[in-house]
């Protein structure tokens, strides 16, 4: 959630490209994170396989949607999502 504004405002990357590029940047981080969780034993095979299956389908839909939607709508939805997460973290303890 921090990468998109960083790419947009600091690197002057266009809105939609910032979202797509953020995924590429998060990928190595989530691999590193996933390894630490698996090493610590937090691994539920059934859940991982079924959620991953759904996620792959959703990922294709989301990627196509990002291409289709106008960048102002993408920016608006994303800023509202950021505010929602902020409210949740501050007032409802994550």
């Amino acid at each position: 959630m921090l990468l998109v504004p960083l790419l947009e405002k600091v690197m002057k990357c266009p809105v939609k490209k910032s979202h797509a590029t953020a995924i590429a940047i998060i990928l190595p981080i989530s691999i590193a994170g996933a390894i630490t969780y698996v090493i610590n034993g937090f691994f539920d095979v059934g859940a991982v396989i079924s959620v991953s299956g759904g996620c792959v389908v959703g990922g294709i839909v989301g990627a196509l949607l990002l291409k289709k939607l106008p960048s102002q709508i993408v920016g608006l939805v994303f800023s509202l999502a950021m505010l929602a997460v902020a409210v949740k973290l501050v007032f409802f303890g994550g």
């Binding site: 937090f42 079924s50 990627a63």
Partner: protein
């Protein structure tokens, strides 16, 4: 695991995948959905989120690369420090109290969100003005 449980997992995966594929942070929704609607606790949900993100993002990235939506020059400059910092932060997170950290991050994210919202609305107003000017001309 019965069929209904599998369907719930798959459904939550689809929702998280759509948001994740758009680069809007699918995990922010995926993790609370998993803890609310399945028997997984926070740690297992976070692990599922990170693991499911890997195949999802590979597929989403293939679509984005085909659509020429990836800005290659930014990836390495940001990815390397971001990965290093996140590994360091994960080591630190064992020492730091998670709850107050969440609140600070929330305040920071809120400020950033307001800034993002304002710049977005300004660009929308500008685009509308431009469109109406073009109409008048």
């Amino acid at each position: 695991m019965d069929l209904i449980q599998i369907l719930i997992f798959v459904g939550i995966g689809v929702v998280g995948g759509i948001i994740g594929g758009m680069g809007m942070g699918g995990g922010t929704l995926l993790i609370p959905l998993l803890t609310a609607f399945t028997s997984l606790d926070q740690h297992y949900a976070q692990a599922v989120n990170l693991l499911a993100f890997i195949p999802m993002s590979v597929v989403a990235l293939i679509v984005h690369i085909k659509n020429k939506m990836i800005e290659g020059k930014h990836i390495l400059i940001v990815a390397i420090p971001a990965t290093v910092v996140s590994v360091l932060a994960s080591l630190l997170s064992k020492i730091v109290d998670g709850k107050s950290l969440g609140v600070y991050f929330g305040i920071f994210l809120g400020a950033l969100g307001i800034y993002q919202l304002v710049t977005c609305i300004i660009s929308m107003v500008k685009a509308k003005k431009r469109a109406s000017n073009e109409k008048n001309n």
